[in-house]
């Protein structure tokens, strides 16, 4: 369906996309995952023909976007990062214009517009000026624009940015619906989103493809981080003294106080070690009851950070509530 080969994009000395290759099959949802500035939008802009590549080819259903842009663009619907809306048009006028622009057949146009408005739940907004719509509705109008003409390939750049929780869930449902009849490529820097919606995840950093797999495989592939998050009632010194006797702990990080008299900690151990029981007995012996214990699992977030940052140390630095870090003393 979509075939991207050795794609590179250079801005002066800066390499925005570096030798990217992948294929997307019909009916798949592919998710680009990457930090800001990773080259996600650039890649999407190249696939849609908005900008050109320095090297490499993009073919959609066998049609090259550089050689036959008009033919290829007919098969693509694109929702860029900022929905391309005309603020002075009503929703209906705008969709009408988009339908004309995409050369939708005159007879089919009216029904298509009302169907799409129904699907994206903007029918009741059809006579409003776009500039009066909220961010969530603007995003939906943008999506409606991308679906117009029912192209084979729909490309969505950060489709849920700026939406509230309910809208995000609705948007995900919509995207899943779309994949029944269309191939979808979407980008995000939010991990849950990609794991919730996509069949395949591609992690991109600094323009390079770092990892590409099914979301459920990613966790297994990367292993689990060992460690537990604790809330312990008691004195700081006593707690540390008790934990120092537990074997297998590699690192203890203390967090800011929430309640006085309660110590908040994250205790790390080697991957695949289970220290929960030892921690429990050690702390109960010291008469410092555990109020809360939670196992750290490697989420897509951690995987993402792990592959996009060079050292594992950055992982813990991501937790913004660290007050001080205490290395475990030798037992």
């Amino acid at each position: 369906m979509v075939e991207v080969k050795n794609l590179s994009k250079r801005y002066g000395d800066h390499l925005a996309v570096d030798n990217l290759s992948f294929t997307v099959n019909k009916g798949q949802i592919l998710g680009f995952l990457g930090p800001n500035g990773a080259g996600k939008s650039t890649t999407m802009n190249i696939i849609t023909g908005y900008i050109s590549a320095t090297e490499g080819t993009v073919t959609i259903n066998g049609v090259d976007i550089f050689d036959e842009p008009e033919e290829a663009k007919k098969m693509i619907g694109y929702l860029p990062e900022f929905p391309p809306l005309y603020p002075d048009m009503t929703v209906k006028e705008y969709l009408n214009f988009v339908a004309d622009l995409k050369k939708v057949d005159k007879k089919a146009k009216k029904k298509m517009i009302s169907d799409i408005m129904e699907n994206t739940k903007i029918t009741h907004m059809s006579d409003r000026l776009i500039k009066h719509l909220s961010k969530g509705y603007k995003q939906r109008v943008g999506l409606a624009q991308a679906i117009m003409g029912y192209p084979d390939l729909i490309i969505l750049d950060e489709p849920t940015v700026g939406l509230d929780t309910k809208q995000i869930i609705e948007m995900r449902e919509l995207i899943k619906d779309l994949s029944k009849n269309h191939t979808v490529i979407l980008s995000s820097h939010i991990m849950q989103e990609v794991s919730a919606v996509c069949d395949t995840v591609m992690i991109i950093d600094k323009g390079k493809l770092i990892l590409s797999d099914k979301p459920e495989n990613l966790s297994a592939r990367m292993g689990v981080t060992g460690g537990v998050r604790l809330s312990v009632k008691g004195d700081k010194k006593e707690v540390f003294a008790a934990l120092n006797n537990v074997k297998g702990i590699t690192k203890i990080v203390r967090h800011a106080y929430v309640n006085p008299g309660v110590v908040e900690l994250t205790v790390y151990c080697n991957e695949n070690d289970d220290i929960r029981e030892d921690v429990f007995y050690a702390l109960s012996k010291a008469n410092t009851p555990i109020l809360e214990m939670k196992v750290l699992r490697m989420s897509l977030e951690d995987i993402f950070l792990k592959v996009t940052s060079s050292s594992k140390a950055d992982m813990t630095a991501e937790e913004n509530d660290i007050e001080e870090s205490v290395e475990k003393e030798e037992v």
Binding site: E70, K73, Y78, P84, Y86, D88, M89, L101
Partner: protein, 287 residues
């Protein structure tokens, strides 16, 4: 192309700009018509049109400034450039829309010679030829405005640059008069222009080799031509600047002379700037 044409036309009447442009233009034409033709009884409508041709400097930027600049700013260019239409479709759709708006003004203007004919003998052919020429003169300005609008994403910048450029084209005859007509001055003036072109080229392409290469080659051609036959440069500065003076082409019409070369000039001017606008859009893809 039709979709973009319709959208542009609609947007002029959704906002105030279309009405303001048409109303203001008609007020000016009406005022001059009233004073010169009705009050002073001048039997030449073409003279009136020629007298108000300065108004393009003020009014053209008003309708051309937003054409491309607004798309660039609202990021709606992404919609247009990823839709199955060519850059030529986009530019022509927009250009024909402004041309239609101005055409409405000219259509209403067509009644004035009829009004004049009530009071006396009127040479209709000269009057209507000059209205057509006036429309084409407007087309030349609008193509230039469209081009300038495509270079920026700020309407204000587009308007100011258009205004200054149009002012230059009107003053071009005067500017040409400053330079003496000997061939040495000509070579110096052309060299300076070449340097400016090379700087612009570098700004646009960010490629020093190409800019310097073009500069050196064209400069060499200039100097070789000068040493082989200096006489071809006699008075050439005035001639070249005269080519750029859009308004002065209208003079023949104001005298009641039908000037086909002016028609060709205006049309080629419009085609050239539409072509340049298409190139700007295509270039954006490659930057």
């Amino acid at each position: 192309m039709l979709a973009i044409y319709k959208k542009e036309l609609k947007s002029y009447f959704n906002s105030m700009i279309g009405y303001v442009f048409i109303a203001f233009f008609l007020v000016i034409i009406g005022l001059w018509f009233f004073i010169q033709n009705l009050l002073y009884g001048l039997a030449s409508f073409e003279y009136t049109l020629s007298a108000i041709s300065f108004i393009f400097i003020l009014l053209t930027p008003l309708i051309t400034m937003r054409l491309m600049a607004e798309e660039n700013k609202q990021k709606t260019d992404q919609l247009l450039y990823t839709a199955p239409v060519t850059a030529t479709d986009i530019v022509l759709g927009k250009f024909l829309a402004v041309l239609t708006i101005f055409g409405l003004v000219m259509a209403i203007t067509c009644f004035y010679p009829l009004i004049m004919s009530i009071y006396g003998e009127i040479q209709f052919s000269a009057a209507y030829a000059s209205i057509l020429a006036f429309w084409l003169l407007g087309a030349a300005y609008m193509a230039m405005g469209l081009f300038i609008s495509s270079l920026t994403d700020s309407q204000v910048v587009a308007a100011v640059i258009s205004f200054v450029t149009f002012l230059f084209t009107v003053l071009m005859d005067g500017i040409a008069g400053i330079f003496s007509s000997d061939n040495k001055t000509a070579v110096i003036v052309f060299s300076v222009i070449l340097v400016i072109i090379c700087i612009l080229l570098y700004r646009m392409m960010h490629n020093l080799t190409v800019a310097i290469g073009v500069g050196i080659i064209s400069e060499a051609v200039l100097l070789i031509a000068y040493f082989l036959n200096p006489t071809i440069f006699d008075g050439s500065v005035r001639k070249v600047f005269g080519w750029l003076s859009v308004n002065s082409r209208f003079e023949n019409f104001s005298l009641g002379v039908f000037d086909l070369s002016a028609f060709v000039y205006y049309i080629s001017f419009a085609v050239l700037f539409n072509f340049l606008t298409v190139q700007v859009i295509k270039k954006k893809r490659w930057s």
